[in-house]
């Protein structure tokens, strides 16, 4: 069933093209632009690669453009059956609704990771290729970065699948998840009056666990709290989506 779910996603050409643009395209664009800047004015602009370049590639994949791709793919996985009207035909097979929901997350995550891990692999190559004598990350940091990217993508995909399954609307899901992750989170994490309430923001918690510099360094929290926050963002939307799928009229 996961293979069938992946088939639905990967054959959606506009979705895959846009997600690839956001993940792989963004890495190419950022490294390319940085390399151009460095080439035209090396005194003012450092090399595109090195530690800084790698940090940029990791953040792109886990917190910014890669996260947008994860939201797109997760939102599609969460809503495709209902919005196409096929959900009732799947339920009418007698297969449990729980299992119909359960395959959405792994399928969406595998498709997302295929893009974002490729993007980070490309970013890693460019980190070394364009280091220009700057320090480069060690194998341990690179491995941690790949694992962190899997975690960051998994939680965004779970959020999008959960919200998508809950609302059944692709437009509402994408607006809600992408708006929250890219706009609302950025505004809220910069608002000091919120104090420790900002610890509940997904990107802030992910930033605490990021193995390279460039997370939300103005906010610090214990690692255990960050893990709990991330777990909450993973589990709560998933349960809400599951509840909807199991109980709604098809």
């Amino acid at each position: 069933m996961i293979a069938a779910e992946i088939l639905k996603l990967r054959r959606n050409r506009p979705l895959m093209a846009f997600a690839a643009l956001l993940s792989i395209g963004a890495v190419v664009l950022v490294f390319g632009y940085s390399a151009l800047e460095h080439a035209t004015n090396p005194k003012m602009n450092g090399p595109a690669g090195g530690d800084l370049g790698f940090s940029r590639a990791v953040r792109l994949g886990g917190l910014f453009f890669g996260a947008l791709a994860a939201a797109l793919i997760g939102g599609e996985a969460g809503t495709a059956d209902v919005s196409s009207g096929v959900f009732r035909d799947l339920v009418a097979t007698g297969r449990s609704r729980w299992s119909l929901f359960a395959v959405r997350l792994p399928a969406a995550l595998l498709v997302t990771l295929a893009l974002n891990l490729t993007a980070l692999a490309l970013g890693t190559v460019l980190t070394f290729a364009l280091a220009g004598g700057q320090p480069t990350p060690g194998a341990g940091v690179i491995a941690d970065a790949f694992l962190w990217l899997v975690l960051a993508n998994a939680v965004v995909v779970a959020l999008a699948v959960g919200v998508g399954s809950l609302t059944g609307s692709r437009a509402v899901t994408l607006t809600g998840v992408i708006g929250w992750q890219t706009v609302a989170t950025q505004l809220l994490e910069r608002e000091p009056s919120l104090g420790s309430a900002r610890d509940g923001l997904l990107n802030v918690a992910l930033g605490q666990l990021m193995p390279v510099s460039g997370g939300y360094q103005g906010i610090t929290m214990a690692g255990g709290i960050a893990v709990a926050v991330i777990a909450g963002w993973f589990v709560i939307p998933s349960l809400l989506g599951l509840r909807r799928v199991v109980t709604e009229d098809a």
């Binding site: 069933m1 293979a3 069938a4 088939l7 639905k8 054959r11 959606n12 050409r13 495709a80 196409s84 009207g85 096929v86 009732r88 035909d89 799947l90 339920v91 009418a92 097979t93 007698g94 297969r95 449990s96 119909l100 009229d249 098809a250």
Partner: protein
Amino acid sequence: MTPIIETDGLTKRFGERLAVAELDLAVPRGSAFGFLGHNGAGKTTLIRMLLGLTRPDAGAIRIAGLPLPAQRARVLARVGAVVEGVGGISFHAHLTGRENLRILAAVRGPETYPRIPGALARVGLSDRADDRVKTYSQGMRQRLGVARCLLADPELLILDEPLNGLDPAGIQEFRETIASLRSEGRTIFLSSHQLDEVEKTCDAAAVIDQGRLIAQGPIAELMSGGQPELEIGCDDPAAARQLLHADPAVAAVHDTPGGGLRVHLLTGGRAEGAGAVNARLVQAGIAVFRLEPAQESLEQRFLRTTTRVGGSAT
């Protein structure tokens, strides 16, 4: 023989609106069964309850002798269904016909995959199986819906408005498909508002109006259940009309466009009524050159019955 579908007091409400009211339905095993009703009569709601898509508020359902929803997975494993949505039959439009079947086969189980080529061939879609469904006509989508049903190797097929969007050739093909499926011992339960097609395709039917079952049984029985009528041709229609008006067994006499008479009998079968009317006319010296029972179509019967219950026919 045990009916393949049995409902007992089945009831479903949407807020204040009663969609299905205390429905007692029995669908004979091996039949092609038409489920008739106006749009909004409750046909799709019943089908959705049969398939576990929505829960009844009261009553019981048994399919192939097993109770729903308790044995839902076991029952539905041998049921193929096409349920119409707002925009017709639903598929993932960006996938091919074959890929859509693969999606459903994955949900039904791995033993279903080998049935895909046969199902596509049976509905005549082998040549277009690798085209995207968004390029399919409505008739091709209907056929793909039947192919999707066949993946279950179904004992029972439930088809919601399967004739919608079919051209005459498509309707003819559909009739042949139904006949072929029946010959394999499968039961076909199809909902429709196209009564003439149900009359030609099915051997039994039920009529639902405003959520209530108002008739069910073999098609021939449903059609014969109305007031007996006769068509008469004679040499003196005016005298015949006057004579028959005075007959206590005759409810009404009307002129027909061809110069004949249509006689509505109050009681008795058509044969007895025809004999009595013929004798009366001949005894009065009126030469009768044509006398035949007027067969009420299923559509006429349906409209008359649902009008009585619903207050208006559409």
